[in-house]
Amino acid sequence: MNRYFRAEIRSNRPVHINHNLLSLANIDPMVEPQPGQFYMLEVSKGLDPLLKRAFSLFRRTQEGFQILYRIKGKGTSILKDLKKGTVLHVLGPLGNFYPLPSDSESPLVIAGGIGIASVFSLVEKLSKKAFVFYGARAEQELFMTDALESFHRELVLCTDDGSCGVKGTVVDVLTDFIKKRDEFHQPVIYACGPKAMLREIAKTALANGVKAYVSLEEHMACGIGACLGCVVKTTSGHQRVCKEGPVFDAREIVW
């Protein structure tokens, strides 16, 4: 049982332009991950790129786990070309996780773009009826909606261009939603997406006295709290995204 283990690629297929779903099977025993945690994946055996890349647990599978990733730069471009059978070193699961709602709380999950990767397994796990707001620029950029629907949660899709679901951002939808919140006793927000979106969500949540957890990103070297490279500014000083995070109480972040 180890947080540094080898995993074999079972499949690595595009789910959209520039987005892949990677299925890994652990070769060595692995530690059970929680929604919100992440892994550092080796993308090359060479010295360039040098560092591992951070990816959220997308979904736990029987044989291992899945990563949903956007092809962004050097590392993910290499990753997308890796074939079935390739063995990677993996570090994880790392960081903290989304605290599950209490019985009196109503979970409200918000994902922007690739942020869906981080909250997907949370949605899957939430026992009570959760609301899920999932936004992207256009219909084609909403991934895995079939799978999301299969969980039978309240799913609200939003697109900037209105090509699917509500026209507008998840923040717009959230604001509307919170206004009519008596139908809700105690909402608690779980959000992952672009920083600007999270900042807006935090603002709305704070203004309405709603609890909100946000999952943050920072460039990482070690992933295990050793390098102090991934800090964010919080009300109690610098906190490591890889250790105290990636999930933070929105009130504690100095946005």
Partner: protein, 303 residues
């Protein structure tokens, strides 16, 4: 097979150490490797008081390397002694504490505070951090100032004193001699080389602190050359580091003149790196029929 090496008065069970700032306070790696197998654990640089460090972003990956601008964030000596040292004491390894100050007085006080502690086997004095703050950076780039601050610290500690040199100088051997004349028992090098990166979309420096320290395999050739030069310049033992990723790299540093080596950035790439390097060194010794690892030191200078 004899893996022992002497770093001045400090005898290590083997030459493999961890580079300060890349191994946290040791505990972060304890779940992955047996710390007792290491020659020494060198902890993150400490100051008298805790430091918040630089604003993020603090990291940029570069070609075969990385830039960091942590800005010496640390929990301060007192908390280290209370919260971290007891854990390290439970392992059968040497503990070397890296420290720094913003003034000669702070260096002296820090050294004195650390020297009164049981369980600390050596001090590594960082005079070379490129994250310029409050002008203290000059300690590592002007030989006169180096001499002054090392002399002052020397008077306050009986522990083996390792002075860690900055590579951002015209002639590293001048700096090495200044540190040794001031009483250093050993030298460690290199610290990171100052560099930067710019985001061409935002047109702003990528690091919160503008510049940062370059580490990793990219700098290995420079580090190796400096170890080679310092070995020629002084008589005290040298601890070599800078881009060591494999046992072969470690051996290269020993051939250049290092008595011990430190694994830095490699710990981020692979948390088992230090132990795999140790195992690889043992393997190399077996294959090459080397009895004592210490016999390798400086042999590239022969002939």
């Amino acid at each position: 097979m004899n893996l022992e090496v002497n770093i001045g008065k400090l005898r290590l069970k083997n030459p493999v150490m961890t580079a300060s700032g890349t191994f946290g306070y040791g505990e972060e790696f304890a779940e992955f490797i047996d710390l007792s197998r290491l020659g020494a654990v060198v902890v993150k640089g400490l100051s008298i008081n805790a430091k918040e460090g630089n604003p993020p972003p603090r990291l940029v990956e570069t070609a075969s390397g990385m830039l960091n601008a942590i800005g010496l964030q640390n929990i301060g000596i007192e908390r280290f002694i209370k919260e971290k040292l007891p854990f390290l004491k439970t392992y059968d390894t040497s503990v070397i504490v890296n420290f720094f100050g913003d003034s000669v007085e702070e260096y002296e006080t820090a050294a004195a505070m650390l020297s009164s502690q049981e369980g600390i086997h050596g001090l590594e004095m960082n005079i070379s951090c490129p994250n310029k703050q409050a002008g203290w950076c000059i300690f590592g780039t002007d030989p006169k100032v180096t001499f002054e601050v090392v002399s002052a610290v020397r008077k306050r500690t009986a522990l083996p004193l390792i002075v860690k040199l900055s590579p951002n100088v015209t002639d590293i051997s001048v700096m090495a001699r200044a540190a040794v004349e001031a009483g250093a028992d050993a030298l460690s090098l290199i610290n990171t080389i100052t560099g930067m990166a710019i985001d061409i979309k935002t047109r702003r420096p990528r690091l919160g602190n503008v510049t940062g320290g370059l580490s990793g395999p990219a700098i290995k050739p420079v580090a190796l050359r400096m170890v080679y030069e310092v070995y020629k310049a002084v008589k005290v033992p040298v601890i070599g580091m800078g881009g060591i990723m494999s046992a072969d790299d470690a051996v290269e540093f020993m051939l250049a003149g290092a008595s011990g080596i430190a694994v830095g950035t490699a710990n981020f790439v692979n948390p088992l790196a230090s132990i795999e390097i140790l195992d690889g060194i043992i393997d190399y010794m077996e294959k090459q029929g080397i009895e004592a690892i210490s016999s390798l030191t400086g042999t590239a200078h022969a002939g």
